[in-house]
Amino acid sequence: MGATKTMGKAGKAGKIGTIRTMKISELIKHAVILFFAFIMIYPLIWMLMSAFKESSTIFPTAAYLIPETWDFTNFATGWQGIGGRFTFATFFRNSFMYASLASIGAVFSSSLIAYSFSRGKYRGKKILFALTMATLLLPAQILMVPQYLWFHQLGWIGSYLPLIVPAYFGGAFFIFLITNFMNSIPTELDEAAKIDGASFYGIYVRIILPLAVPALITSGLFSFIWRWDDFMGPLLYVQGQQRLFPVTLALRFFADPAASTDWGAMFAMSTLSLVPAVAIFIFFQKYLVDGISTTGLKG
Protein backbone atom coordinates (compact mmCIF):
# COMPACT_ATOMS: atom_id res chain seq x y z
CA MET A 1 0.00 0.00 0.00
CA GLY A 2 2.48 2.58 1.24
CA ALA A 3 5.13 1.52 -1.21
CA THR A 4 2.92 1.89 -4.28
CA LYS A 5 1.72 5.28 -3.08
CA THR A 6 5.21 6.73 -2.77
CA MET A 7 6.19 5.15 -6.05
CA GLY A 8 3.15 6.70 -7.69
CA LYS A 9 4.14 10.14 -6.47
CA ALA A 10 7.69 9.65 -7.68
CA GLY A 11 6.41 8.47 -11.04
CA LYS A 12 4.38 11.63 -11.45
CA ALA A 13 7.48 13.66 -10.79
CA GLY A 14 9.06 11.64 -13.58
CA LYS A 15 12.32 10.94 -11.84
CA ILE A 16 13.38 7.34 -12.32
CA GLY A 17 16.22 7.81 -9.83
CA THR A 18 13.75 8.67 -7.08
CA ILE A 19 11.85 5.47 -7.68
CA ARG A 20 15.00 3.45 -7.25
CA THR A 21 15.98 5.19 -3.98
CA MET A 22 12.45 4.69 -2.68
CA LYS A 23 12.77 1.01 -3.37
CA ILE A 24 16.15 0.85 -1.69
CA SER A 25 14.87 2.64 1.39
CA GLU A 26 11.96 0.20 1.50
CA LEU A 27 14.43 -2.64 1.24
CA ILE A 28 16.53 -1.25 4.07
CA LYS A 29 13.41 -0.94 6.17
CA HIS A 30 12.52 -4.55 5.54
CA ALA A 31 16.07 -5.60 6.36
CA VAL A 32 15.96 -3.68 9.67
CA ILE A 33 12.58 -5.14 10.64
CA LEU A 34 13.74 -8.62 9.76
CA PHE A 35 17.00 -8.19 11.64
CA PHE A 36 15.22 -7.18 14.84
CA ALA A 37 12.65 -9.93 14.37
CA PHE A 38 15.50 -12.41 14.17
CA ILE A 39 17.02 -11.06 17.40
CA MET A 40 13.60 -11.43 18.99
CA ILE A 41 13.27 -15.11 18.26
CA TYR A 42 16.98 -15.90 18.48
CA PRO A 43 16.74 -17.26 22.07
CA LEU A 44 13.97 -19.62 21.00
CA ILE A 45 15.87 -20.85 17.94
CA TRP A 46 18.95 -21.23 20.11
CA MET A 47 17.05 -23.47 22.51
CA LEU A 48 15.62 -25.56 19.68
CA MET A 49 19.08 -26.04 18.17
CA SER A 50 20.70 -26.80 21.53
CA ALA A 51 18.19 -29.61 22.00
CA PHE A 52 19.93 -31.35 19.09
CA LYS A 53 23.46 -30.80 20.38
CA GLU A 54 25.36 -33.36 22.40
CA SER A 55 24.93 -32.19 26.01
CA SER A 56 28.61 -31.46 26.74
CA THR A 57 29.00 -29.37 23.58
CA ILE A 58 26.07 -27.00 24.23
CA PHE A 59 27.89 -24.32 26.18
CA PRO A 60 31.30 -24.49 24.46
CA THR A 61 29.50 -24.02 21.13
CA ALA A 62 26.81 -21.68 22.48
CA ALA A 63 27.76 -18.95 20.00
CA TYR A 64 26.94 -21.21 17.05
CA LEU A 65 23.39 -22.06 16.19
CA ILE A 66 23.68 -25.13 13.98
CA PRO A 67 24.82 -28.32 15.75
CA GLU A 68 27.94 -29.94 14.28
CA THR A 69 26.25 -33.31 14.45
CA TRP A 70 22.52 -33.72 14.92
CA ASP A 71 21.97 -35.68 18.09
CA PHE A 72 18.53 -36.98 19.00
CA THR A 73 19.44 -38.76 22.25
CA ASN A 74 18.50 -35.70 24.33
CA PHE A 75 14.86 -36.35 23.59
CA ALA A 76 15.10 -39.99 24.66
CA THR A 77 16.97 -39.28 27.90
CA GLY A 78 14.87 -36.20 28.70
CA TRP A 79 11.65 -38.13 28.26
CA GLN A 80 12.68 -40.46 31.10
CA GLY A 81 12.00 -37.63 33.56
CA ILE A 82 13.69 -36.56 36.76
CA GLY A 83 15.12 -39.84 37.95
CA GLY A 84 11.78 -40.77 39.44
CA ARG A 85 9.25 -43.34 38.37
CA PHE A 86 7.44 -41.01 36.04
CA THR A 87 8.27 -40.04 32.49
CA PHE A 88 7.27 -36.95 30.58
CA ALA A 89 4.34 -38.95 29.20
CA THR A 90 2.77 -38.54 32.66
CA PHE A 91 3.65 -34.86 32.92
CA PHE A 92 2.31 -34.04 29.47
CA ARG A 93 -0.88 -35.95 30.20
CA ASN A 94 -1.33 -34.03 33.48
CA SER A 95 -0.76 -30.67 31.80
CA PHE A 96 -3.14 -31.58 29.03
CA MET A 97 -5.88 -32.74 31.40
CA TYR A 98 -5.50 -29.68 33.61
CA ALA A 99 -5.48 -27.19 30.74
CA SER A 100 -8.40 -28.85 28.92
CA LEU A 101 -10.70 -29.33 31.90
CA ALA A 102 -10.08 -25.83 33.24
CA SER A 103 -10.54 -24.25 29.82
CA ILE A 104 -13.77 -26.08 29.01
CA GLY A 105 -15.21 -24.96 32.34
CA ALA A 106 -14.02 -21.40 32.02
CA VAL A 107 -15.37 -20.95 28.49
CA PHE A 108 -18.70 -22.63 29.16
CA SER A 109 -19.60 -20.69 32.30
CA SER A 110 -18.15 -17.47 30.98
CA SER A 111 -20.46 -17.79 27.98
CA LEU A 112 -23.48 -18.17 30.29
CA ILE A 113 -22.46 -15.15 32.34
CA ALA A 114 -21.65 -13.11 29.26
CA TYR A 115 -25.08 -13.90 27.78
CA SER A 116 -26.68 -12.73 30.99
CA PHE A 117 -24.62 -9.52 30.94
CA SER A 118 -25.26 -8.90 27.28
CA ARG A 119 -28.97 -9.70 26.97
CA GLY A 120 -30.36 -9.87 30.50
CA LYS A 121 -32.53 -7.09 31.88
CA TYR A 122 -32.38 -6.96 35.64
CA ARG A 123 -31.39 -4.56 38.36
CA GLY A 124 -27.79 -4.70 39.50
CA LYS A 125 -26.49 -5.97 36.18
CA LYS A 126 -24.17 -3.02 35.78
CA ILE A 127 -22.80 -3.52 39.27
CA LEU A 128 -22.16 -7.18 38.54
CA PHE A 129 -20.33 -6.30 35.36
CA ALA A 130 -18.25 -3.72 37.23
CA LEU A 131 -17.42 -6.38 39.82
CA THR A 132 -16.22 -8.67 37.05
CA MET A 133 -13.89 -5.94 35.85
CA ALA A 134 -12.71 -5.35 39.41
CA THR A 135 -11.74 -9.00 39.81
CA LEU A 136 -9.66 -8.57 36.67
CA LEU A 137 -7.60 -5.99 38.53
CA LEU A 138 -7.58 -7.81 41.85
CA PRO A 139 -4.19 -9.36 42.58
CA ALA A 140 -4.41 -13.13 42.97
CA GLN A 141 -1.82 -12.82 45.72
CA ILE A 142 -4.40 -11.38 48.12
CA LEU A 143 -6.38 -14.56 47.85
CA MET A 144 -3.49 -16.98 47.79
CA VAL A 145 -3.20 -17.77 51.51
CA PRO A 146 -6.90 -17.96 52.43
CA GLN A 147 -7.76 -19.86 49.26
CA TYR A 148 -5.05 -22.35 50.11
CA LEU A 149 -6.56 -22.87 53.57
CA TRP A 150 -10.03 -23.05 52.12
CA PHE A 151 -8.97 -25.85 49.80
CA HIS A 152 -6.99 -27.43 52.60
CA GLN A 153 -10.19 -27.69 54.66
CA LEU A 154 -12.00 -29.21 51.71
CA GLY A 155 -9.21 -31.79 51.46
CA TRP A 156 -8.34 -30.71 47.94
CA ILE A 157 -4.60 -30.19 48.43
CA GLY A 158 -2.62 -32.68 46.39
CA SER A 159 -5.12 -32.63 43.54
CA TYR A 160 -6.05 -30.38 40.64
CA LEU A 161 -9.45 -29.55 42.12
CA PRO A 162 -8.35 -26.15 43.55
CA LEU A 163 -7.19 -25.18 40.08
CA ILE A 164 -10.01 -26.64 38.00
CA VAL A 165 -13.18 -26.11 40.06
CA PRO A 166 -12.94 -22.29 40.31
CA ALA A 167 -12.63 -22.17 36.50
CA TYR A 168 -16.21 -23.47 36.33
CA PHE A 169 -17.40 -20.19 37.84
CA GLY A 170 -16.17 -18.16 34.89
CA GLY A 171 -13.10 -16.03 34.31
CA ALA A 172 -13.20 -12.23 34.27
CA PHE A 173 -11.14 -11.82 31.10
CA PHE A 174 -13.28 -14.30 29.17
CA ILE A 175 -16.55 -12.81 30.46
CA PHE A 176 -15.35 -9.40 29.29
CA LEU A 177 -14.27 -10.71 25.89
CA ILE A 178 -17.42 -12.75 25.23
CA THR A 179 -19.79 -10.04 26.54
CA ASN A 180 -18.23 -7.53 24.15
CA PHE A 181 -18.61 -9.97 21.31
CA MET A 182 -22.26 -10.76 22.16
CA ASN A 183 -23.01 -7.05 22.39
CA SER A 184 -21.98 -6.77 18.76
CA ILE A 185 -24.55 -9.39 17.70
CA PRO A 186 -27.67 -7.48 16.49
CA THR A 187 -30.63 -7.79 18.87
CA GLU A 188 -32.94 -8.04 15.83
CA LEU A 189 -31.93 -11.70 15.68
CA ASP A 190 -33.19 -12.24 19.26
CA GLU A 191 -36.42 -10.39 18.50
CA ALA A 192 -37.08 -12.51 15.44
CA ALA A 193 -36.46 -15.70 17.41
CA LYS A 194 -38.70 -14.46 20.21
CA ILE A 195 -41.55 -13.90 17.75
CA ASP A 196 -41.02 -17.48 16.58
CA GLY A 197 -41.57 -18.56 20.19
CA ALA A 198 -38.00 -19.07 21.37
CA SER A 199 -37.38 -18.63 25.09
CA PHE A 200 -34.43 -16.88 26.76
CA TYR A 201 -32.66 -20.25 26.85
CA GLY A 202 -33.61 -21.13 23.30
CA ILE A 203 -32.14 -17.89 22.01
CA TYR A 204 -28.90 -18.65 23.87
CA VAL A 205 -28.60 -22.15 22.47
CA ARG A 206 -29.80 -21.54 18.93
CA ILE A 207 -28.82 -17.95 18.13
CA ILE A 208 -26.23 -16.38 20.41
CA LEU A 209 -23.97 -19.32 21.19
CA PRO A 210 -23.46 -20.40 17.56
CA LEU A 211 -22.73 -16.80 16.56
CA ALA A 212 -20.32 -16.28 19.44
CA VAL A 213 -18.14 -19.24 18.48
CA PRO A 214 -15.16 -17.06 17.44
CA ALA A 215 -15.10 -15.41 20.88
CA LEU A 216 -15.43 -18.82 22.53
CA ILE A 217 -12.49 -20.16 20.52
CA THR A 218 -10.37 -17.13 21.39
CA SER A 219 -11.17 -17.54 25.08
CA GLY A 220 -10.53 -21.27 24.98
CA LEU A 221 -7.16 -20.83 23.31
CA PHE A 222 -5.98 -18.18 25.75
CA SER A 223 -7.21 -20.20 28.67
CA PHE A 224 -5.43 -23.29 27.39
CA ILE A 225 -2.12 -21.49 26.90
CA TRP A 226 -2.29 -19.80 30.31
CA ARG A 227 -3.13 -23.04 32.09
CA TRP A 228 -0.49 -24.93 30.16
CA ASP A 229 2.07 -22.35 31.36
CA ASP A 230 0.66 -22.11 34.88
CA PHE A 231 3.44 -22.56 37.37
CA MET A 232 2.34 -20.93 40.61
CA GLY A 233 -0.92 -22.91 40.83
CA PRO A 234 0.58 -26.39 40.55
CA LEU A 235 3.50 -25.26 42.73
CA LEU A 236 1.01 -24.54 45.51
CA TYR A 237 -1.31 -27.48 45.12
CA VAL A 238 0.38 -30.52 43.59
CA GLN A 239 4.03 -29.97 44.46
CA GLY A 240 4.09 -32.93 46.84
CA GLN A 241 3.35 -35.65 44.33
CA GLN A 242 5.49 -36.28 41.29
CA ARG A 243 2.80 -38.36 39.64
CA LEU A 244 0.63 -35.22 39.46
CA PHE A 245 3.33 -32.89 38.09
CA PRO A 246 2.44 -30.85 35.06
CA VAL A 247 5.21 -30.16 32.54
CA THR A 248 6.00 -26.78 34.13
CA LEU A 249 6.86 -28.29 37.52
CA ALA A 250 8.76 -31.16 35.94
CA LEU A 251 10.91 -28.73 33.97
CA ARG A 252 11.60 -26.71 37.07
CA PHE A 253 12.89 -29.74 38.95
CA PHE A 254 14.87 -30.70 35.88
CA ALA A 255 16.71 -27.38 36.10
CA ASP A 256 17.03 -27.42 39.86
CA PRO A 257 19.95 -25.15 40.69
CA ALA A 258 20.90 -27.49 43.54
CA ALA A 259 21.50 -30.45 41.23
CA SER A 260 23.65 -30.72 38.12
CA THR A 261 21.50 -30.32 35.04
CA ASP A 262 21.59 -32.37 31.87
CA TRP A 263 21.12 -29.32 29.67
CA GLY A 264 20.64 -31.22 26.43
CA ALA A 265 17.75 -33.20 27.89
CA MET A 266 16.47 -30.05 29.58
CA PHE A 267 16.31 -28.12 26.31
CA ALA A 268 14.79 -31.07 24.49
CA MET A 269 11.91 -31.23 27.00
CA SER A 270 11.62 -27.43 27.15
CA THR A 271 11.25 -27.39 23.37
CA LEU A 272 8.57 -30.07 23.53
CA SER A 273 6.75 -28.16 26.27
CA LEU A 274 6.37 -25.20 23.90
CA VAL A 275 4.86 -27.30 21.11
CA PRO A 276 1.18 -26.85 22.10
CA ALA A 277 1.47 -23.06 22.38
CA VAL A 278 3.39 -22.82 19.11
CA ALA A 279 0.85 -25.06 17.37
CA ILE A 280 -2.01 -22.89 18.63
CA PHE A 281 -0.06 -19.85 17.52
CA ILE A 282 0.49 -21.22 14.01
CA PHE A 283 -3.00 -22.54 13.37
CA PHE A 284 -5.13 -20.05 15.29
CA GLN A 285 -3.09 -16.86 15.18
CA LYS A 286 -6.07 -14.91 13.89
CA TYR A 287 -8.12 -15.73 16.98
CA LEU A 288 -5.37 -14.71 19.37
CA VAL A 289 -4.74 -11.45 17.51
CA ASP A 290 -8.47 -10.66 17.41
CA GLY A 291 -8.80 -11.40 21.11
CA ILE A 292 -6.03 -9.01 22.04
CA SER A 293 -7.02 -6.31 19.58
CA THR A 294 -10.70 -6.23 20.44
CA THR A 295 -10.38 -6.34 24.22
CA GLY A 296 -7.27 -4.20 24.37
CA LEU A 297 -6.09 -6.49 27.14
CA LYS A 298 -2.82 -8.27 27.49
CA GLY A 299 -2.83 -11.80 26.18
Partner: protein
Protein backbone atom coordinates in the same frame (compact mmCIF):
# COMPACT_ATOMS: atom_id res chain seq x y z
CA UNK B 1 -64.00 -34.74 34.56
CA UNK B 2 -64.47 -36.12 38.00
CA UNK B 3 -64.39 -32.63 39.39
CA UNK B 4 -67.05 -31.51 37.03
CA UNK B 5 -69.25 -34.42 38.05
CA UNK B 6 -69.01 -33.53 41.73
CA UNK B 7 -69.48 -29.92 40.93
CA UNK B 8 -72.79 -30.70 39.38
CA UNK B 9 -73.75 -32.25 42.67
CA UNK B 10 -73.11 -28.90 44.30
CA UNK B 11 -71.11 -30.26 47.24
CA UNK B 12 -69.46 -27.40 49.05
CA UNK B 13 -66.63 -29.54 50.37
CA UNK B 14 -65.76 -30.77 46.92
CA UNK B 15 -66.02 -27.27 45.61
CA UNK B 16 -63.05 -26.46 47.87
CA UNK B 17 -61.17 -29.49 46.62
CA UNK B 18 -61.61 -28.30 43.09
CA UNK B 19 -60.33 -24.89 43.99
CA UNK B 20 -57.19 -26.31 45.60
CA UNK B 21 -56.67 -28.55 42.58
CA UNK B 22 -56.91 -25.49 40.42
CA UNK B 23 -54.31 -23.64 42.50
CA UNK B 24 -52.02 -26.69 42.34
CA UNK B 25 -52.13 -26.61 38.57
CA UNK B 26 -51.55 -22.92 38.48
CA UNK B 27 -48.59 -23.29 40.88
CA UNK B 28 -46.65 -25.52 38.52
CA UNK B 29 -47.75 -23.16 35.77
CA UNK B 30 -46.42 -20.29 37.77
CA UNK B 31 -43.15 -22.10 38.37
CA UNK B 32 -42.78 -22.81 34.69
CA UNK B 33 -43.64 -19.22 33.91
CA UNK B 34 -41.14 -18.07 36.51
CA UNK B 35 -38.35 -20.24 35.10
CA UNK B 36 -39.09 -19.34 31.51
CA UNK B 37 -39.19 -15.67 32.40
CA UNK B 38 -36.43 -13.72 30.72
CA UNK B 39 -35.25 -12.01 33.89
CA UNK B 40 -35.11 -15.28 35.84
CA UNK B 41 -33.04 -16.80 33.07
CA UNK B 42 -30.66 -13.88 33.01
CA UNK B 43 -30.19 -13.98 36.78
CA UNK B 44 -29.73 -17.77 36.70
CA UNK B 45 -27.05 -17.42 34.03
CA UNK B 46 -25.22 -14.84 36.13
CA UNK B 47 -25.22 -17.19 39.12
CA UNK B 48 -21.90 -18.92 38.36
CA UNK B 49 -20.18 -15.55 38.57
CA UNK B 50 -21.99 -14.54 41.75
CA UNK B 51 -21.29 -17.87 43.46
CA UNK B 52 -17.68 -17.92 42.32
CA UNK B 53 -17.22 -14.34 43.39
CA UNK B 54 -18.56 -15.14 46.85
CA UNK B 55 -16.78 -18.46 47.32
CA UNK B 56 -13.41 -17.71 45.78
CA UNK B 57 -13.07 -13.94 46.17
CA UNK B 58 -15.20 -12.37 48.90
CA UNK B 59 -14.82 -15.14 51.49
CA UNK B 60 -11.05 -15.50 50.99
CA UNK B 61 -10.68 -11.71 51.07
CA UNK B 62 -12.51 -11.56 54.37
CA UNK B 63 -10.43 -14.40 55.74
CA UNK B 64 -7.28 -12.72 54.50
CA UNK B 65 -8.20 -9.51 56.26
CA UNK B 66 -8.76 -11.42 59.49
CA UNK B 67 -5.49 -13.35 59.17
CA UNK B 68 -3.61 -10.12 58.66
CA UNK B 69 -4.36 -9.34 62.32
CA UNK B 70 -3.21 -12.76 63.54
CA UNK B 71 -0.10 -14.79 63.99
CA UNK B 72 -0.49 -18.13 62.31
CA UNK B 73 0.79 -20.52 59.71
CA UNK B 74 -0.78 -23.21 57.60
CA UNK B 75 -0.45 -25.81 60.37
CA UNK B 76 -1.19 -23.74 63.47
CA UNK B 77 -4.44 -22.02 64.42
CA UNK B 78 -4.40 -18.23 64.24
CA UNK B 79 -3.95 -16.16 67.40
CA UNK B 80 -5.09 -12.57 67.37
CA UNK B 81 -2.21 -10.10 67.60
CA UNK B 82 -3.88 -6.84 66.62
CA UNK B 83 -1.82 -4.56 64.45
CA UNK B 84 1.48 -6.35 65.11
CA UNK B 85 1.90 -7.51 61.52
CA UNK B 86 1.40 -4.02 60.17
CA UNK B 87 3.76 -2.52 62.73
CA UNK B 88 6.34 -5.15 61.85
CA UNK B 89 6.35 -3.90 58.25
CA UNK B 90 7.66 -0.53 59.37
CA UNK B 91 10.94 -2.05 60.50
CA UNK B 92 11.26 -4.86 57.96
CA UNK B 93 14.47 -4.10 56.07
CA UNK B 94 13.90 -6.93 53.62
CA UNK B 95 10.48 -5.53 52.82
CA UNK B 96 12.04 -2.20 51.92
CA UNK B 97 14.51 -3.77 49.52
CA UNK B 98 11.69 -5.88 48.15
CA UNK B 99 9.58 -2.77 47.51
CA UNK B 100 12.55 -1.05 45.92
CA UNK B 101 13.11 -3.99 43.57
CA UNK B 102 9.42 -4.22 42.70
CA UNK B 103 9.06 -0.52 41.91
CA UNK B 104 12.31 -0.48 39.97
CA UNK B 105 11.12 -3.42 37.92
CA UNK B 106 7.63 -2.07 37.23
CA UNK B 107 8.77 1.46 36.45
CA UNK B 108 11.42 0.33 33.99
CA UNK B 109 9.97 -2.75 32.34
CA UNK B 110 6.48 -1.43 31.66
CA UNK B 111 7.43 1.90 29.99
CA UNK B 112 10.19 0.10 28.09
CA UNK B 113 7.79 -2.52 26.87
CA UNK B 114 5.17 0.04 25.81
CA UNK B 115 7.76 2.18 24.07
CA UNK B 116 9.17 -0.72 22.07
CA UNK B 117 5.64 -1.93 21.32
CA UNK B 118 4.67 1.48 19.95
CA UNK B 119 7.81 1.83 17.83
CA UNK B 120 7.42 -1.63 16.31
CA UNK B 121 3.70 -1.06 15.73
CA UNK B 122 4.53 2.12 13.81
CA UNK B 123 7.10 0.21 11.76
CA UNK B 124 4.59 -2.51 10.92
CA UNK B 125 1.67 -0.20 10.21
CA UNK B 126 2.17 0.02 6.46
CA UNK B 127 0.98 -3.37 5.40
CA UNK B 128 3.03 -5.25 2.87
CA UNK B 129 3.05 -8.91 1.93
CA UNK B 130 5.54 -9.54 4.72
CA UNK B 131 3.64 -7.78 7.52
CA UNK B 132 1.93 -10.96 8.69
CA UNK B 133 5.25 -12.76 9.01
CA UNK B 134 6.88 -9.89 10.88
CA UNK B 135 3.94 -9.51 13.20
CA UNK B 136 4.07 -13.22 13.99
CA UNK B 137 7.79 -13.10 14.71
CA UNK B 138 7.46 -10.13 17.06
CA UNK B 139 4.42 -11.59 18.77
CA UNK B 140 5.75 -15.12 19.32
CA UNK B 141 7.80 -14.26 22.47
CA UNK B 142 4.63 -12.95 24.15
CA UNK B 143 2.89 -16.27 23.66
CA UNK B 144 5.82 -18.30 24.97
CA UNK B 145 7.38 -15.86 27.43
CA UNK B 146 5.37 -16.90 30.47
CA UNK B 147 6.48 -20.52 30.24
CA UNK B 148 8.91 -22.25 32.54
CA UNK B 149 10.89 -23.33 29.49
CA UNK B 150 11.68 -19.72 28.59
CA UNK B 151 12.50 -18.81 32.19
CA UNK B 152 14.99 -21.66 32.41
CA UNK B 153 16.39 -20.72 29.02
CA UNK B 154 16.78 -17.12 30.16
CA UNK B 155 18.58 -18.21 33.27
CA UNK B 156 21.20 -20.15 31.38
CA UNK B 157 21.60 -17.39 28.78
CA UNK B 158 23.00 -15.13 31.48
CA UNK B 159 25.17 -17.76 33.19
CA UNK B 160 28.90 -17.07 33.29
CA UNK B 161 29.23 -19.85 30.70
CA UNK B 162 25.93 -18.94 29.04
CA UNK B 163 24.94 -17.84 25.58
CA UNK B 164 25.27 -14.09 26.11
CA UNK B 165 28.90 -14.31 27.24
CA UNK B 166 29.74 -16.73 24.40
CA UNK B 167 28.21 -14.32 21.89
CA UNK B 168 30.21 -11.47 23.44
CA UNK B 169 33.32 -13.64 22.97
CA UNK B 170 32.63 -13.67 19.26
CA UNK B 171 32.71 -9.87 19.04
CA UNK B 172 35.79 -9.76 21.25
CA UNK B 173 34.31 -8.73 24.59
CA UNK B 174 35.14 -11.85 26.57
CA UNK B 175 34.87 -10.81 30.19
CA UNK B 176 32.85 -13.77 31.47
CA UNK B 177 30.56 -11.50 33.37
CA UNK B 178 28.21 -13.03 35.98
CA UNK B 179 25.00 -11.27 34.93
CA UNK B 180 22.87 -13.10 37.49
CA UNK B 181 25.38 -12.72 40.32
CA UNK B 182 25.86 -8.97 40.06
CA UNK B 183 23.50 -6.74 42.02
CA UNK B 184 23.42 -4.19 39.21
CA UNK B 185 22.61 -6.51 36.31
CA UNK B 186 20.47 -9.31 37.78
CA UNK B 187 17.28 -7.27 37.73
CA UNK B 188 17.97 -6.17 34.18
CA UNK B 189 17.87 -9.76 32.97
CA UNK B 190 14.27 -9.80 34.23
CA UNK B 191 13.46 -6.38 32.79
CA UNK B 192 14.79 -7.55 29.46
CA UNK B 193 12.68 -10.70 29.68
CA UNK B 194 9.58 -8.59 30.37
CA UNK B 195 10.34 -6.06 27.64
CA UNK B 196 10.98 -8.92 25.22
CA UNK B 197 7.29 -9.80 25.53
CA UNK B 198 6.00 -6.58 24.01
CA UNK B 199 4.00 -8.44 21.35
CA UNK B 200 0.53 -8.12 22.92
CA UNK B 201 0.94 -4.39 23.53
CA UNK B 202 2.16 -4.07 19.94
CA UNK B 203 -1.00 -5.74 18.63
CA UNK B 204 -3.17 -3.43 20.71
CA UNK B 205 -1.33 -0.39 19.37
CA UNK B 206 -1.62 -1.71 15.82
CA UNK B 207 -5.37 -2.06 16.08
CA UNK B 208 -5.71 1.43 17.64
CA UNK B 209 -3.48 2.95 14.98
CA UNK B 210 -5.61 1.44 12.23
CA UNK B 211 -8.70 3.09 13.70
CA UNK B 212 -7.33 6.61 13.24
CA UNK B 213 -9.11 7.99 10.16
CA UNK B 214 -6.86 8.65 7.17
CA UNK B 215 -8.58 12.05 6.69
CA UNK B 216 -6.89 13.37 9.84
CA UNK B 217 -3.47 12.76 8.32
CA UNK B 218 -4.51 14.23 4.98
CA UNK B 219 -5.77 17.39 6.61
CA UNK B 220 -2.53 17.73 8.56
CA UNK B 221 -0.45 17.18 5.42
CA UNK B 222 -2.43 19.83 3.55
CA UNK B 223 -1.67 22.20 6.41
CA UNK B 224 1.98 21.43 5.80
CA UNK B 225 2.72 19.39 8.93
CA UNK B 226 5.83 17.20 8.83
CA UNK B 227 5.98 13.54 9.81
CA UNK B 228 7.20 14.16 13.35
CA UNK B 229 4.67 16.89 13.91
CA UNK B 230 1.88 14.66 12.66
CA UNK B 231 3.00 11.95 15.06
CA UNK B 232 3.12 14.21 18.11
CA UNK B 233 0.04 16.27 17.27
CA UNK B 234 -2.28 13.60 15.89
CA UNK B 235 -1.14 10.01 16.32
CA UNK B 236 0.13 10.18 19.87
CA UNK B 237 -2.81 12.13 21.36
CA UNK B 238 -5.26 9.74 19.71
CA UNK B 239 -3.34 6.79 21.16
CA UNK B 240 -3.36 8.09 24.74
CA UNK B 241 -6.50 6.15 25.77
CA UNK B 242 -4.83 2.93 24.62
CA UNK B 243 -1.58 3.87 26.32
CA UNK B 244 -3.42 4.68 29.52
CA UNK B 245 -5.32 1.42 29.61
CA UNK B 246 -2.19 -0.58 28.90
CA UNK B 247 -0.23 1.32 31.48
CA UNK B 248 -2.77 0.54 34.20
CA UNK B 249 -3.07 -3.16 33.36
CA UNK B 250 0.62 -3.79 32.84
CA UNK B 251 1.73 -1.79 35.89
CA UNK B 252 -0.48 -3.97 38.05
CA UNK B 253 0.99 -7.06 36.43
CA UNK B 254 4.46 -5.61 36.83
CA UNK B 255 3.97 -5.08 40.55
CA UNK B 256 2.88 -8.69 40.87
CA UNK B 257 5.70 -10.33 38.90
CA UNK B 258 6.41 -13.74 40.36
CA UNK B 259 7.19 -16.75 38.19
CA UNK B 260 10.09 -15.34 36.23
CA UNK B 261 11.84 -13.97 39.33
CA UNK B 262 11.18 -17.23 41.14
CA UNK B 263 12.82 -19.22 38.36
CA UNK B 264 15.47 -16.94 36.88
CA UNK B 265 17.04 -15.19 39.88
CA UNK B 266 15.30 -16.68 42.96
CA UNK B 267 15.17 -13.19 44.40
CA UNK B 268 18.93 -12.79 44.51
CA UNK B 269 21.60 -11.54 44.55
CA UNK B 270 21.32 -9.70 47.87
CA UNK B 271 17.52 -9.37 47.48
CA UNK B 272 17.86 -7.13 44.43
CA UNK B 273 15.18 -9.13 42.61
CA UNK B 274 13.23 -10.23 45.67
CA UNK B 275 9.95 -8.95 44.24
CA UNK B 276 7.02 -8.36 46.48
CA UNK B 277 5.07 -11.45 45.39
CA UNK B 278 8.10 -13.62 45.91
CA UNK B 279 8.74 -12.22 49.37
CA UNK B 280 5.10 -12.70 50.30
CA UNK B 281 5.01 -16.22 48.89
CA UNK B 282 8.04 -17.17 50.97
CA UNK B 283 6.54 -15.74 54.14
CA UNK B 284 3.31 -17.65 53.55
CA UNK B 285 4.55 -21.02 52.37
CA UNK B 286 8.25 -21.34 53.14
CA UNK B 287 8.76 -19.48 56.41
CA UNK B 288 5.43 -20.19 58.06
CA UNK B 289 4.35 -16.57 58.58
CA UNK B 290 1.01 -16.70 56.84
CA UNK B 291 -0.41 -13.94 59.06
CA UNK B 292 2.35 -11.57 58.07
CA UNK B 293 1.93 -12.63 54.43
CA UNK B 294 -1.77 -11.74 54.59
CA UNK B 295 -0.90 -8.32 55.98
CA UNK B 296 1.64 -7.86 53.19
CA UNK B 297 -1.02 -8.77 50.65
CA UNK B 298 -3.39 -6.14 52.03
CA UNK B 299 -0.67 -3.54 52.06
CA UNK B 300 -0.05 -4.41 48.41
CA UNK B 301 -3.73 -4.08 47.57
CA UNK B 302 -3.92 -0.67 49.23
CA UNK B 303 -0.78 0.46 47.42
CA UNK B 304 -2.00 -0.79 44.07
CA UNK B 305 -5.35 0.86 44.64
CA UNK B 306 -3.70 4.16 45.51
CA UNK B 307 -1.38 3.94 42.56
CA UNK B 308 -4.18 3.12 40.12
CA UNK B 309 -6.26 5.91 41.65
CA UNK B 310 -3.45 8.41 41.10
CA UNK B 311 -3.06 7.23 37.52
CA UNK B 312 -6.76 7.84 36.97
CA UNK B 313 -6.46 11.30 38.51
CA UNK B 314 -3.70 12.21 36.06
CA UNK B 315 -5.87 10.98 33.24
CA UNK B 316 -7.49 14.30 32.43
CA UNK B 317 -4.13 15.97 31.95
CA UNK B 318 -2.83 13.74 29.22
CA UNK B 319 -5.45 11.30 27.98
CA UNK B 320 -7.50 12.41 24.98
CA UNK B 321 -11.09 11.30 25.26
CA UNK B 322 -12.75 13.16 22.42
CA UNK B 323 -13.21 10.10 20.22
CA UNK B 324 -12.89 10.20 16.47
CA UNK B 325 -15.84 12.34 15.47
Amino acid sequence: MLALYFHRKGDVFLEKAILSEKTAVSFSDKFRKFIMNETTGAVLFAMPFLLGFLLFTIVPMGMSLYYSFTDFNILRAPTFVGLDNYVRMLTDERLFSSMRATFYFAFTSVPLRLLVALLVALMLLKSTKMTGVYRAMYYLPSILGASVAVAVLWRQMFFVTGTVNRLLDVIGLNRDFAWLGDTRTAIWTLILLAAWQFGSAMLIFLSSLKQIPETYYEAARIDGAGKLRIFFKITLPLLTPTIFFNLVMQMINGFLAFTQAFLVTQGGPADTTNFFSLYMFNHAFAWGNAGYAAALAWMMLIMLGTFTGILFLTKRFWVYEGGFS
